[in-house]
C-alpha cells in the first residue's frame, strides 16, 4: 500500500487500525442471523415454483398441515399485499397466489419444530399450475408473447422500462466528428455469492414484531414489513445481525423476511428461515445481463465530440431496483470522460428468471466495460496510444457534466500516473502471449436521492456521553466493509479518544436514528458527515464545561490523547453533564440538491465521485485460450482514507470480484432452470486464481466528504473488467466484446482471426427497440463549472 498524502494533524483518521469488531469475528463470537436460536424457535422453509412461468390454479396445504410438528402453513392468500424496493415497481408478493414468474418464486411457507419437518411439509403441499410459455431472453421479451406477458405493466410486450434522453446537440457533435465508430458489447449476468446464506429470525411479543436479518437495508425492510403486515412502523423493529456478505444481494426486502414475521405473528413463537445455497442463487438480484450499442464521434486527435449509448437489460421477472439499474447503464459515462453531447437510450425487459438488481457497481460495470474497450478501439484506429487518448478526454475537477452531474474532486490523472509508472506499462518488452490492459472508472459516493421521495436526512447519528462513556447510535449497517469502524474512528477523532473507547449501537430501527443502508457506497460519506456533526456538537459542550472550570476561552482547550484541557475525558464529561444535564448530541447528513432539471435526473447525482485506474497484466495461451492473470495494479482516489487498511481491503476485494466477473462468473439458465446453482459449479476465483494486487491510495481531499473521504467499496471493481479484455487484445490481437472472457471465446476469436474474419468474439448486433423520442436536455450553463462546490 502507498498513499500520496502525509496524514497531518489527525490522531485516528488515516491510521491503519484494526476493525472494531475484528476480535468477535476471528473468535467466532459475532452473531450472524442463523446463529441466533431463541427459546422455542420454529424453523421455516419456503415452497418455491418449479416452473419459470405459470398460472396457479390451486394450492392444497391440507396434507402439510397434518404432519406432526407443523405449526403453521401460509400461502399467498395470507400475504396478498404487494411490495418492492422502488415505489414505482411494487410488483412482488412475499408468497404468490396467482402466478409464478421464475423458478424459485415463493408460493407457500411452513413453520415447524424442525427444519426437516418444514421441508417435508413443503413437499406435501399440492399446487396445480397452468404452465405458460417462458420468456427467456432479451429478444424473446421484445417480441409478442406466445401466452401472456410476465407482468401487467410496462410494455409493449415484455418491456419493463424505456428511457431516452439527449444532452446537448448530439447530431451536431457527430457532424463535427472527424471519425466515428460503432460497437456492440454484451455483459453476461452474474450473482453476488455472499458466503452467508440469507437468514432472518422474527419474534412477535407484546404485539410487536422484531426481526433480525442479514440485510444491508434495515430501514427498507422495516418499510416493506409495515406495508405487507399492515402494522404501523412503530410496532416493528428490524435489527441488522452480524452480516456475512452482501455486495448488493441483500439490498431488497425479501420474501423470507416477511414470511418469518407473519409466521411469528401466527404462532406466537420465534420463527427462523435460512435460505439454502440453491435458494440464494434464485433470490439473486444480481448483475443484469446487458447488451450494449455505442457510437462515438471524435476529432483526429481523439477528442470526443458526441456519444450515443444504448442498453438493453435482461431484468428477470420483477422490478427490484431495475429502473434505477437501467438509468445507471447510461448515467456515469460522462463522469470519467468529457462528452460534450450525449444521447442515452435504455431498455429493461422482463424475463422468466430470478430478478436482477444491484450488485457492486450497480448498472455501471457493464457500460464501463463497453466504453473502455470502445475507446481503446477508436484510439487504435486513429493511431493514438489508447491511454493517451483517454487521458485527453478525462473530466476535470470542479465541473458539471453535460447531463448535469457535479464533479468535485477528481484524481483520474494521478491514478493513471500511479499505475502507469508502477506497472512499467510503457517500457515493457513485448513477448508472445503476454498482454497488459488499462482502464479507468468512477463511482458514486452515495446516491444523491433517496429510494423514496422525501426531504429528510439520509443519515443521522446520535451521541450519548455518560460518566465518561461514549455511545454513538446510527442506523448504518456494517456488512463487513467496516462502517462501524469508520463511525468509531470519526467520533474518537473528534472527542480526542481512540475507537476502542467508543461503544456503538447500529442498524436497529428501534434504538438508532436512520441511515438508509449499505448500498450505493454511501455510508462513509453520509454517516461519516453525520457523525462529524454530532461529535463536534458533543465536543463543544465538553470543551465549554472544561474551559469554564479552567477559566479560559474554549479555543484554548486542547482536545486529544483522552484529555480535554486540564482534565481527563471522564472528568471533563462529568463537568459537562453537571452543567448541561444529559449529554446528547445529534448530527445528520442530507445530500446537496444537485440533480439536473429533467425527469430521470435522480439517478447519477452524488455528492462526490471516486475515481480509479487499473492495469491488468496477463498471459494468454493461444492454443487453449487459457488466461493467467499475473498482477493487477490499481490506484483509487478515495478522497481521504479514513482507515487505509480498510480502504485497501475494499480495493483488493473489488479487484477480486472484478476478476471473477471478467474471467468466469456467469448466471445462465437452461429451460428456466439455473445452470449452476451451487458454489462448485458457479465458478468464482479461489486462492489459486487470485493474482497479486498492488494498490495505490490517492487522496484528493474532497470538499464535502468527511475529512475529504469518498467511497472505496464499489468503484475499484469497475476498471478491472475492461482492463482484462484489453489485455487479451494486447496479448493475442483479438477483441473479446463479451463478459466473461472465457477460454472458449478466446479460441473462437483466434479461429476467426486465422480465417481472415473479424478477430472478435461478441454479440453480432443490437435489436430494434421501440425507444420513445429523446427528451432533450440543455447542458448546464458554463458558469456552474467555476462555482464553489456548495453552489455547483
Amino acid at each position: 500500500m502507498s498513499t500520496n498524502n502525509q496524514n497531518g494533524g489527525f490522531a485516528v483518521i488515516g491510521k491503519p487500525l484494526p476493525k472494531v469488531d475484528a476480535v468477535s469475528k476471528v473468535t467466532g463470537r459475532a452473531m450472524y442471523a442463523d446463529d441466533m436460536l431463541l427459546p422455542r424457535t420454529l424453523h421455516c422453509r419456503i415452497l418455491r415454483s418449479p416452473h419459470p412461468h405459470a398460472r396457479m390454479v390451486s394450492v392444497d396445504t391440507s396434507a402439510a398441515r397434518r404432519i406432526p410438528g407443523v405449526q403453521a402453513v401460509i400461502t399467498g392468500a395470507d400475504l396478498p399485499i404487494k411490495f418492492g424496493i422502488l415505489p414505482v415497481t411494487q410488483d412482488e408478493r412475499a408468497l404468490e397466489h396467482e402466478k409464478v414468474r421464475y423458478v424459485g418464486d415463493p408460493i407457500a411457507a411452513v413453520a415447524a419444530t424442525e427444519e426437516e419437518i418444514a421441508a417435508a411439509a413443503c413437499d406435501a403441499i399440492a399446487v396445480q399450475y397452468e404452465v405458460l410459455d417462458p420468456v427467456m431472453s432479451i429478444d424473446a421479451a421484445l417480441g409478442k408473447p406466445k401466452d401472456e406477458r410476465i407482468q401487467d405493466y410496462g410494455g409493449p410486450n415484455n418491456i419493463h422500462k424505456l428511457i431516452a434522453l439527449e444532452f446537448g446537440d448530439v447530431d451536431a457533435g457527430f457532424a463535427r466528428a472527424e471519425h466515428t465508430r460503432e460497437d456492440v458489447f454484451f455483459f453476461q449476468g452474474n450473482t453476488h455469492l455472499p458466503m452467508e446464506q440469507h437468514s432472518a429470525i422474527a419474534t412477535f411479543v407484546d404485539e410487536k414484531v422484531t426481526l433480525w436479518s442479514s440485510t444491508q437495508v434495515v430501514h427498507y425492510v422495516h418499510r416493506a414489513l409495515a406495508k405487507v403486515l399492515e402494522l404501523p412502523m412503530n410496532r416493528i423493529r428490524v435489527i441488522g445481525a452480524a452480516h456475512g456478505g452482501g455486495f448488493g444481494g441483500k439490498t431488497d426486502p425479501f420474501a423470507h423476511e416477511i414470511v418469518v414475521a407473519k409466521l411469528a405473528m401466527i404462532t406466537g413463537r420465534p420463527v427462523k428461515c435460512t435460505l439454502t445455497r440453491e435458494e440464494v442463487f434464485y433470490a439473486h438480484r444480481g448483475r443484469h445481463p446487458v447488451l450494449m450499442w455505442v457510437r462515438t464521434g471524435v476529432t483526429k486527435d481523439g477528442r470526443i465530440t458526441a456519444m450515443h449509448f444504448r442498453s438493453a437489460l435482461d431484468g428477470g421477472a420483477y422490478g427490484s431496483y431495475g429502473v434505477a439499474s437501467t438509468f445507471y447503464t447510461g448515467a456515469l459515462q460522462t463522469v470519467t470522460y468529457d462528452i460534450p453531447a450525449y444521447r442515452f437510450e435504455g431498455c429493461r425487459v422482463f424475463t422468466n428468471k430470478p430478478p436482477c438488481g444491484p450488485k457492486r457497481g450497480h448498472g455501471t460495470p457493464q457500460p464501463r466495460f463497453a466504453i473502455e474497450l470502445h475507446l481503446e478501439k477508436i484510439a487504435r484506429e486513429l493511431g493514438i496510444d489508447p491511454v493517451e487518448m483517454k487521458r485527453r478526454n478525462f473530466v476535470k475537477p470542479m465541473t458539471r457534466t453535460v447531463n448535469w452531474l457535479r464533479v468535485t474532486s477528481c484524481g483520474l490523472e494521478e491514478c493513471t500516473e500511479r499505475v502507469m509508472s508502477a506497472s512499467g506499462f510503457r517500457t515493457r518488452t513485448r513477448r508472445a502471449g503476454h498482454g497488459m490492459g488499462f482502464a479507468i472508472s468512477s463511482y458514486l459516493s452515495g446516491a444523491g436521492t433517496a429510494i423514496y421521495w422525501n426531504d429528510m436526512p439520509h443519515s443521522e447519528v446520535q451521541i450519548k456521553v455518560d460518566r465518561g462513556g461514549v455511545t454513538a447510535y446510527c442506523g448504518a449497517m456494517d456488512i463487513g466493509q467496516g462502517s462501524d469502524s469508520v463511525l468509531a474512528a470519526i467520533v474518537a477523532e473528534e472527542l480526542g479518544l481512540q475507537p476502542k473507547d467508543i461503544r456503538l449501537v447500529t442498524a436497529d430501527t428501534d434504538t438508532t436514528p436512520i441511515d438508509l443502508g449499505s448500498y450505493s457506497s454511501r455510508v462513509t460519506f453520509m454517516a461519516g458527515n453525520a457523525a462529524i456533526e454530532a461529535a463536534r456538537k458533543m465536543r463543544s459542550m465538553i470543551v465549554e464545561a472544561a474551559a469554564s472550570k479552567m477559566e479560559c476561552d474554549a479555543g484554548a482547550v486542547k482536545v486529544g490523547a483522552a484529555r480535554i484541557g486540564d482534565f481527563t475525558f471522564e472528568e471533563a464529561s462529568i463537568l459537562a453533564e453537571a452543567r448541561f444535564g444529559t449529554l446528547t448530541s445529534a448530527g445528520s447528513y442530507t445530500p446537496p440538491k444537485i440533480a439536473g432539471p429533467y425527469k430521470g435526473s435522480g439517478v447519477g447525482p452524488s455528492p462526490a465521485y471516486s475515481y480509479s485506474a487499473c492495469i491488468v497484466d496477463l498471459e494468454a495461451e493461444a492454443r487453449t485460450g487459457l488466461l493467467h492473470v499475473n498482477k493487477v495494479w490499481i490506484a483509487h482516489d478515495v478522497g481521504r482514507a479514513i482507515n487505509p487498511l480498510l480502504v485497501e481491503g475494499q480495493v483488493e476485494g473489488s479487484v477480486y470480484m472484478g476478476l471473477g466477473e471478467a474471467l468466469m462468473e456467469e448466471q445462465t439458465f437452461r429451460k428456466g432452470l439455473h445452470k449452476w446453482p451451487s458454489m462448485l459449479e458457479y465458478k468464482s476465483p479461489t486462492f489459486l486464481d487470485m493474482p497479486d494486487v498492488e494498490t495505490f491510495i490517492v487522496e484528493t481531499v474532497d470538499p464535502e466528504g468527511p475529512y475529504g473521504a469518498k467511497e472505496a467499496g464499489q468503484g475499484p471493481l469497475l476498471p478491472v473488467i475492461p482492463a482484462v479484455s484489453a489485455a487479451v487484445f494486447d496479448a493475442l490481437g483479438v477483441w473479446i466484446d463479451e463478459i466473461p472472457v472465457t477460454p472458449e471465446k478466446v479460441v473462437e476469436a483466434l479461429r476467426r482471426k486465422d480465417k481472415g474474419e473479424l478477430a472478435r468474439y461478441g454479440p453480432p448486433g443490437f435489436p430494434d427497440i421501440p425507444y420513445p423520442p429523446c427528451t432533450k436536455v440543455e447542458p448546464p450553463p458554463k458558469e456552474l463549472d467555476r462555482a464553489a462546490p456548495a453552489s455547483i
Binding site: T27, R29, L37, G244, T686, L688
Partner: protein, 164 residues
C-alpha cells in the same frame, strides 16, 4: 413421508471431544457434525455456506487435519480431537493467526474466517516456513468473497513468522 416418529428410531448417544471438552450428545444418526456443533453444542462459530462440501466455510480440525464438518457424521469422529474456532484462543489470548487476522484486516464480513483460520492452522502446525504458493494451495478449498484473499495470505505469513 418423514415423521417425528420415524426419527425417534434413529437416535443415538455419542461422545465427542471438542476443543478439549468431552461432551455426550443424544442425536439422530443422520445429523452432520456441522449441525451437531451448531445446534446441539451451541458452537455457532463454525459457519455454513453450502452444506455440500463446496465452500470450505464449515472447516474444523479433526485430529489436526482440516475437514468439512458438513460432510461428516459425528459417528465418524467419535474419539477424535475436534477443534473449532472457539478452541483457537487460550482464554482471552488470541492465537497468533487470530491476532494477525485482526491486525491486518483479514476478516471483512468474517463469515469465512473461522474455516480459514482452522485450515491455516493446520498449515502452520506442519510447516513453519510455508511459501505463499503452499498457503494458497492449502487454502484453495476455502472461498472468501470479501477480501480478494490478499490480506488473508499476508496474515497467515505474519502469523507464521511470529510462531517460528
Amino acid at each position: 413421508m418423514l415423521t417425528s416418529v420415524d426419527r425417534q428410531a434413529h437416535l443415538q448417544v455419542l461422545s465427542l471431544r471438542v476443543n478439549g471438552e468431552h461432551v455426550r450428545v443424544y442425536l439422530p444418526v443422520h445429523k452432520t457434525l456441522l449441525e451437531v456443533l451448531r445446534e446441539d453444542m451451541n458452537l455457532t462459530g463454525t459457519k455454513h455456506g453450502c452444506e455440500l462440501g463446496e465452500c470450505g466455510t464449515c472447516t474444523v480440525l479433526v485430529d489436526g487435519k482440516p475437514e468439512l464438518s458438513c460432510l461428516l457424521l459425528p459417528v465418524q469422529v467419535e474419539g477424535c480431537a475436534i477443534t473449532t474456532v472457539e478452541g483457537l484462543a487460550k482464554g482471552s489470548e488470541l492465537h497468533p493467526l487470530q491476532q494477525a487476522f485482526v491486525e491486518l484486516g483479514a476478516a471483512q464480513c468474517g463469515y469465512c474466517t473461522p474455516g480459514i483460520l482452522l485450515a491455516a492452522k493446520s498449515v502452520l502446525d506442519t510447516a513453519s516456513r510455508p511459501t505463499r504458493d503452499e498457503i494458497r494451495e492449502a487454502l484453495a478449498g476455502n472461498l472468501c468473497r470479501c477480501t480478494g484473499y490478499m490480506k488473508i495470505l499476508e496474515a497467515v505469513e505474519l502469523a507464521a513468522e511470529r510462531m517460528r
